[in-house]
């Protein structure tokens, strides 16, 4: 464990140092004919991500697996009969097609909303405590982060398949896009202020462009949930959006609210066809 931690610290340091040179000069240098090498390095990076020995996110995956089959709630049943959209209890490929419309709930849900729904309806679990622990911290594990890590991992290697055919899914897509461009609060920011141009950065952090479909969106959405080295925790898209709204000086958005799902639908659409490799590791 100690070795693992220091390896990750080294990795963060490398990323941080690199960020300086790369972001300051990288884009100006133009394309380098290093495709072969690139592919190989990306392959190696992928291997590292999926290596449980070098990615602490796999501890969450393991805990999530146990939670999935843990009997609890008034009904004392597990989540194993929860339908995540691809059939009762089926996990493979479910995350690649979320968020999606669920007829039993009458609405579009992301994975976290769906899990809360199954906890409430199948297990009759009081989710108050689960919601209170939605984001992990020192001495506080999060069932949601663990479950998302476990379930999303079952879509690793698959392609993102946004679900946008049902009228409710269509609505979510259009609302998500509108929310992406909606300016508000004391800084007049929208998501687009920071994420709608190629090759821009804030301080030294590169900013993915979600305004058009393609690589930036694919690489981003295919890499969440992620183990955040700077926070020493597994994080889900719910947390990422909560954090971006914090930077926007907006109030904290409600956990598992429909607006966050709408934004996720929009970004998944832009990320269509991207390969999922999760849990990843990020700064």
């Amino acid at each position: 464990m100690r070795i693992r931690t220091s390896a990750i610290a080294a990795l963060t340091a490398a990323c941080a140092v690199l960020g300086v040179g790369l972001l300051a000069g990288g884009h100006a240098q133009g394309q380098q004919p290093e495709q072969d090498l690139s592919e190989k390095e990306i392959e190696r990076y992928r291997a590292m991500i999926s290596d449980p020995m070098s990615n602490p996110g796999f501890l969450n995956v393991d805990r999530g697996e146990q939670l999935w089959s843990l009997k609890r709630g008034a009904k004392n049943v597990s989540l194993e009969t929860c339908d995540l959209g691809v059939g009762t209890g089926k996990l493979e490929g479910a995350y690649a097609k979320l968020p999606r419309y669920f007829a039993d709930a009458g609405k579009v849900m992301d994975l976290e909303q769906r899990l809360l729904f199954c906890m409430t309806t199948l297990q009759e679990l009081d989710t108050k405590d689960v919601i209170a622990r939605r984001f992990s911290g020192p001495g506080r594990v999060s069932d949601m982060e663990d479950l998302v890590g476990f379930i999303a991992n079952k879509s690793s290697g698959m392609k993102i398949e946004p679900q946008v055919s049902h009228p409710k899914e269509q609505e979510m897509l259009s609302v998500g896009e509108a929310m992406f461009y909606r300016r508000s609060a004391v800084m007049d920011f929208s998501c687009a202020t920071c994420h709608a141009a190629e090759g821009k950065r804030i301080r030294l952090q590169g900013l993915p462009d979600f305004s058009k479909p393609g690589k930036a969106a694919q690489e981003t959405m295919g890499s969440w949930p992620t183990y955040r080295v700077s926070q020493s925790q597994m994080r889900t898209m719910q947390h990422r959006l909560w954090d971006c709204y914090r930077q926007m000086r907006m109030p904290a958005p409600d956990y598992a609210s429909d607006g966050l799902t709408a934004l996720t639908v929009f970004m998944m659409k832009q990320a269509q066809g991207g390969e999922i490799a999760v849990p990843s590791i990020k700064r």
């Binding site: 390095e41 990306i42 897509l173 508000s184 609060a185 007049d188 202020t193 301080r203 393609g214």
Partner: protein
């Protein structure tokens, strides 16, 4: 270590090599539906914070025009925003450039995780290059290196810059730059200091 360096360089080279994909034709959302979603997303927000969720007339107009207002709308926004600009009572727009350096550097304050008394910075470096010595700067806005020198340290120009920082949209409607004074995010004193940071011949911005 080298492995990681290579892979990050590689990833960025690949990203650059990808051609821009076509815009996805998404259906337009009914603004009332969007606002209902917004209200639901901040349902538990109360008190002073609630006001941040709703858009003012300018934010609404900028969102609707995709930040490219034209014709009468352009003039309307510029006039409305210009009317908010308040110059310091003593007419002086140049403060202490050393304090201005802090305003430009610091990005704290105003977040829901901050205390009410957390120092509020302008975080100019998030978007602008300023002093050559600071390599950690963003690129959402133009470089402001040598700004005062470029404007010949002119007093009338400095006054215009005060107005720009007080309310960016008084100059350019729907600018991506925050309206720092109008939003009461920065104090008049802080704005004077950061104008000095841009205009003082001794400031590292002009070195």
């Amino acid at each position: 270590m080298t492995r990681i360096i290579l892979l990050i360089l590689a990833a960025s080279a690949l990203a650059l090599a990808t051609p821009a994909a076509a815009q996805s034709p998404a259906p337009q959302a009914d603004p009332a539906v969007v606002e209902a979603f917004v209200a639901a997303t901040w349902k538990s927000t109360t008190g002073d914070w609630r006001a941040r969720v709703d858009q003012d007339a300018t934010q609404k107009a900028c969102t609707a025009s995709n930040n490219e207002p034209t014709g009468p709308l352009f003039d309307q926004i510029r006039d409305r925003e210009s009317a908010t600009v308040v110059f310091p009572a003593d007419g002086k727009v140049l403060g202490d450039w050393k304090k201005g350096a802090q305003v430009a550097q610091r990005g704290t304050g105003g977040q829901f995780s901050d205390q009410a008394n957390t120092y509020r910075g302008g975080n100019c470096y998030a978007c602008h290059q300023m002093s050559k010595a600071e390599v950690s700067f963003g690129t959402l806005g133009p470089s402001l290196n040598g700004y005062g020198k470029l404007h010949r340290f002119d007093a009338a120009e400095a006054r215009k810059t005060y107005a720009k920082i007080y309310n960016s949209m008084s100059v350019l409607p729907c600018s991506q730059m925050p309206r720092f004074g109008h939003a009461k995010f920065l104090s008049d004193e802080q704005i004077k200091d950061v104008v000095a940071y841009l205009y003082d011949p001794e400031s590292p911005v002009n070195k």
